[in-house]
């Protein structure tokens, strides 16, 4: 545990060691933060500044026009609302269904339990891409293609985007919880479902927080499923919109775009860079707010979840 504390008491070498560790961590932190810093800085640069190699961290001409363009190109109020609604509903679905199902797997014995759990693990391993065509057919038969339901509905049944992982994580937790509380509840005449909802679930805080955040983040960032199931412009979600950003920008800018088409692809990337960075920043705002609000709980959650791979 306290390598630093331990040694600092006895030698000068320890001081150097400590400085080295800090330097190393700071270097790592720089690598981690770099993309986000660049993103923020470039989003307020003018095109002239972006194409100028000598301007790196401090923009010469501060501008918010990139944001104005990005907001427009993303159709942000509509798209953002779609994204937030789908993400929240899907996450709620995952939390309810996965904890319930995991509890069943962890606490009760029933025929085919192990076989079913093996299928849960398989469902983690099989990429969405592998089964996307038959899935599409399934949803067409249910008449829910072109709505947001294909992203939301499966999450209430333990499937959906990486649903298996959450079942797995919750199960890991439930297996380790001592049974005494539940037995006491049972003696007091509490039914299984009520025991689960009122006794077991409140104690899952840490695991719940980690799963909640991961589910939010994964759903919010997913562009693959929306791009398959949604064709109506008003239903688009943020990541999907991001991928079409360049095309949208060219449309909006009219004759400027004609000029942009004549220049090479690299140049075009450079040309839109400020706006793309602004758009990415806008997309990250909800996640960032979420992280700031939950950061403390998340870090604690990670510490307390005490995962073991057993």
């Amino acid at each position: 545990m306290n390598k630093l504390k331990h040694k600092s008491s006895n030698s000068a070498g320890a001081v150097i060691m400590r400085i080295a560790v800090y330097l190393f961590l700071t270097g790592l932190a720089f690598v981690f933060l770099y993309p986000f810093m660049i993103m923020l800085v470039d989003s307020v640069k003018t095109y002239a500044d972006i194409s100028n190699n000598t301007v790196k961290w401090i923009p010469r001409n501060f501008t918010l026009s990139n944001y104005k363009l990005a907001l427009e190109a993303l159709n942000v109020w509509r798209t953002g609302a779609n994204s937030v609604i789908v993400t929240v509903l899907a996450t709620v679905g995952h939390m309810i269904s996965c904890s319930l199902v995991a509890y069943g797997f962890a606490r009760y014995r029933f025929p085919l339990r192990n076989a079913m759990f093996a299928i849960v693990v398989l469902s983690i391993l099989i990429p969405t891409q592998t089964i996307i065509i038959p899935s599409y057919i399934t949803y067409t038969n249910m008449h829910i293609v072109d709505t947001h339901l294909p992203m939301i509905l499966p999450t209430f049944f333990g499937f959906g985007l990486r649903g298996g992982i959450f079942i797995f994580l919750f199960r890991q937790y439930f297996i380790k919880v001592p049974k005494s509380l539940e037995e006491a509840a049972a003696i007091d005449g509490c039914g299984p479902l009520r025991t689960f909802a009122q006794v077991v679930l409140p104690s899952t805080g840490a695991t719940m927080v980690v799963c909640f955040l991961l589910s939010m983040v994964w759903h919010f960032n997913d562009s693959y499923e929306p791009s398959i199931y949604l064709t109506n412009y008003d239903q688009y979600m943020l990541p999907q919109m991001l991928s079409m950003l360049s095309a949208n920008l060219s449309n909006m800018q009219g004759d400027v775009a004609d000029a942009a088409q004549n220049i090479s692809n690299d140049m075009q990337i450079m040309y839109h860079r400020g706006v793309v960075m602004a758009a990415v920043t806008i997309c990250l705002i909800p996640l960032f707010v979420l992280y700031v609000v939950m950061q403390r709980k998340f870090v604690e959650g990670v510490e307390r979840s005490g995962l073991t791979g057993e």
Binding site: F24, F30, I38
Partner: protein, 291 residues
């Protein structure tokens, strides 16, 4: 205790359990079983008519086609295997390393933790690939490189060493951004190691190095197993994967759904095989801890 239960109680337990799992069973039937069946079926048939989905048996033709006529599949497969063999161990080594560093108690630890968790929250998936598309990764690497290795030294070392160094740094940068979840998992594993073990070792005047190999590592093996499997799965289902792009193109641009399906199932079987290998290799170590 379970064995002493008689029939009725056992049956009641089974029914309660099944009730808890029932949402998942419904989900399995509604959303999962049919797509799995269809995509497996596609590997062995030719679709004659797309509208009513009539099929004819094709045997192993599609698999033959993959190996005999598709020049890209094996090529991409080998490339992604090579990449995976390099990435998964490196990801885990870095993740363990960072997890151990930020698990120590030192002033400012919270700040570093917050930063190291950022990529998990903000960098997952599409936003990050948008940033990478802008070449941010190369720039980060460029900055790091010029700090670590000044131009004069680079010229002195010659282009081969420089290229190697550049590639290596670029790899590390991209790995660092991807290992957030792994760091979290290792960190929670480290937290569950009882501090009394370290205290006892310290009383016996064990060095930091010995404690790492004799306490930390053995206690981490179950977590490491989990993490290796997670990294593997994450690598396999990542849509940036070259092989996956090829599979996608086969389906949606060449309209060869049958071939595409066969390819992805081959790939999937390979993934399962690798997971089993990891389990087999890790098992002796994991078991030792439990005893």
């Amino acid at each position: 205790m379970k064995k002493q239960k008689h029939g009725a109680a056992k049956r009641r337990e089974a029914i309660t359990g099944l009730l808890f799992v029932s949402p998942w069973i419904i989900g399995l039937c509604a959303f999962f079983a049919f797509p799995i069946f269809r995509s497996l079926q596609l590997c062995f048939v030719n679709v004659v008519n797309m509208t009513d989905y009539s099929v004819e048996w094709a045997g192993l033709d599609h698999f033959k086609e993959i190996f005999e006529t598709d020049t890209w599949y094996i090529k991409h497969f080998l490339t992604s295997m090579k990449e995976m063999l390099l990435q998964i161990p490196l990801t885990n080594i870095f993740a363990i390393f960072i997890a151990i560093l930020i698990n120590k108690k030192f002033p400012g630890r919270t700040v570093y933790r917050t930063i190291f968790f950022l990529p998990v929250i903000l960098g997952a998936g599409f936003v990050m690939s948008q940033l990478l598309g802008q070449g941010v990764q190369g720039e980060a690497m460029e900055t790091v490189r010029s700090v670590l290795l000044p131009t004069q030294i680079r010229i002195y070392l010659g282009p081969k060493v420089t290229t190697f160094f550049t590639d290596f740094l670029s790899l590390i940068t991209s790995i660092l951004w991807k290992c957030g979840v792994q760091i979290i998992i290792y960190l929670s594993g480290l937290q569950s190691v009882s501090p009394s073990l370290y205290e006892a070792a310290r009383v016996d005047s064990a060095t930091e190095w010995e404690m790492f190999w004799l306490i930390t590592m053995p206690m981490l093996t179950p977590i490491m197993l989990l993490n290796l499997v997670y990294s593997l799965v994450d690598y396999f289902i990542n849509s940036d994967n070259l092989l996956f792009k090829h599979i996608q193109n086969t389906a949606f641009q060449l309209n060869q759904f049958e071939n595409s399906s066969a390819m992805s199932w081959l790939f999937f079987l390979w993934a399962i095989l690798l997971v089993l290998v990891i389990f087999a290799v890790m098992r002796p170590f994991v078991k030792k801890v439990k005893d």
